[in-house]
Symmetry: C2
Subunit: 223 residues, 2 copies
DNA sequence: GCGAAAATCAGAACGTGTTCCAATTCCGAT
DNA sequence: ATCGGAATTGGAACACGTTCTGATTTTCGC
C-alpha cells in the first residue's frame, strides 16, 4: 500500500505567516488588479492560515475568533467581513484542502489496475494525511456536520470536490466523463467517507475504521 | 408505496406536558422504587418533551436551555444535572426516537419480498415521519454532526439502533442473526442515511434526495 | 497630490451555552 | 416526627460567537 505522499497540505509551516502569496480571492476569479485586491487576498490568506494553525493546536474549540483575528493580525470585524461565521471559516478551509487534494491527484493519479483498488488507494492516502492532523480534521468535520442553510454553497462545493475525486479515481488514468452509475457509486462512497470521518472524530471509532469502511464499500460497489 | 404509518413519534401532542408517565429513567434499567426515582423520571421526561416541543417550533436554535428549563418547569441547573449539554439533550431525544422506531418495526415488520424492497420500505417510512417535523430532524441531525468525544456513547447507541433497524429489515420477517456481510451492508446504508439527512437539513439537497440515495444504495448493495 | 469612498481597526456590547453558589425543599432512614 | 444528605431552585457569573459603532487608514479616480 503506497501512501500517496502529500495529498492534503500540512496545516501550516509554523513560521512565515506574514504577507503570503497574492493569489486571487477564490479559485476561478479573474484575479482583480489593484493593490486593494492584493492586500485583501493576503489578509484572507492570513486568516485561513491562522485558522489552520489554531485548529492544529487544539481543534474546533481552539479556533476562537478573537485569537484568529489576533494571529492573522487583523481586527475581529475584518475576520467577519471575509468569513461570515466560524463555521464558514472552517468550511472554506476544508474546501481549500479538498481542492488541493484534487489538484495533487490530477498530477499523481492512482496507478492501480482496478477501480476499487484505485479508489481505496486514493482515499487511504487522503486519510493518512488527515490522521496526521487529527485536530484539524476534527474541526473541519465538525463544522461540516453543523452546517446551516447559509453555508449550503460551501457544503455543496466540498461534497462535489470529494465526489469528483472519487469518480476520477474510479476511471483513472483515462480521463472521460463518468457514467451515471459511477456517479451514484461515488456519491455513496463520499457519504460513507464523511460518516466514517464523523465517527472517528467523535471518538466512536478508531481512525482505521475509516479505511476499513471505505475498503468494504468499495469492494461491494466497484469491480 | 405504503407509508409505514407512525414510525417516529410526533414531537409532542402540544398539550399535556405536565407530569407525564413515570417510566424508568433509561431503557433497560430495573425501575428503581421510591418516589424520588419516580419524580426524577418525570422530570427527565418533561425536559425531553420540552426539548422536542421547542425543536418542533424553531429547530436547533429554538432549543435554548433557559427555555427548556422554563418549559419543563425545572431550574436550569437541573436540566444540566440530567443532560450534560444541549448537544447531549438532543442526542438522547434522537436515541429515544430511534428506539421507538425500532420498537414499532418489531410489531410491524416490513412485508416486502426482497431485502432491498424491505429496507427501502422501512427507511422511506422513517423519512416520511422525519419530514413531518423537519425542524426536529434538523436539530437532531445537527447535534449528531457536532458530536464530541464526551457524547461518543450516545452517538454509538444511535448508530447501533439504526444499523439494527436496517439489518432487521434485510432479513425480516424471519428473525435470525445477521451475517457479517449483512452487517457491513447495513452499516453502509446507515452511513448513507445519515449523510443524506445531513445534506437535507443543510439545505444542500431536497428531502426526496434522502429517499433516492437510500434506494440507489439499497439497489446496489442488496439482492 | 486631493478628496471621496471603502476598508480596517479597536473595542464595547449582546445573546446564549455553561458553570457556580447559597438557600431551600424533598426523600428516606432512624 | 425528625435529622442528614441529596436534589432542586433562582439567579449571578463567565466564555465565546457575533454584531455594532465611531475613529482611522488605505485605495483609487481625478
Amino acid at each position: 500500500m503506497v501512501p500517496v505522499q502529500p495529498p492534503l497540505p500540512p496545516p501550516i509551516p509554523p513560521g512565515a505567516v506574514t504577507v503570503p502569496d497574492p493569489v486571487p480571492d477564490r479559485d476561478a476569479e479573474p484575479a482583480a488588479e489593484g493593490a486593494l485586491a492584493r492586500s485583501q487576498a493576503a489578509r484572507r490568506r492570513r486568516v485561513l492560515d491562522a485558522t489552520l494553525q489554531l485548529a492544529a493546536a487544539g481543534g474546533f474549540d481552539a479556533v476562537q475568533m478573537r485569537d484568529v483575528a489576533a494571529a492573522a493580525d487583523v481586527a475581529l470585524g475584518t475576520v467577519y467581513r471575509y468569513f461570515a461565521s466560524k463555521e464558514r471559516l472552517l468550511l472554506e478551509a476544508m474546501a481549500e484542502q479538498q481542492a488541493d487534494l484534487r489538484a495533487y491527484l490530477e498530477v499523481h493519479p492512482p496507478r492501480e489496475p482496478t477501480p476499487a483498488a484505485r479508489v481505496v488507494s486514493v482515499l487511504r492516502g487522503a486519510n493518512h494525511s488527515l490522521r496526521e492532523f487529527p485536530d484539524v480534521t476534527a474541526a473541519m468535520v465538525r463544522s461540516f456536520g453543523t452546517a446551516q442553510i447559509e453555508n449550503a454553497d460551501i457544503v455543496r462545493r466540498v461534497t462535489e470536490i470529494m465526489t469528483g475525486i472519487i469518480t476520477s479515481a474510479i476511471h483513472a488514468p483515462e480521463r472521460r466523463a463518468a457514467t451515471e452509475n459511477e456517479v451514484r457509486v461515488a456519491r455513496i462512497l463520499m457519504q460513507v467517507w464523511l460518516s466514517s470521518l464523523n465517527g472517528w472524530v467523535c471518538g466512536v471509532d478508531g481512525p482505521d475504521r475509516v479505511d476499513d469502511d471505505l475498503a468494504a464499500a468499495a469492494a461491494l460497489l466497484l469491480p
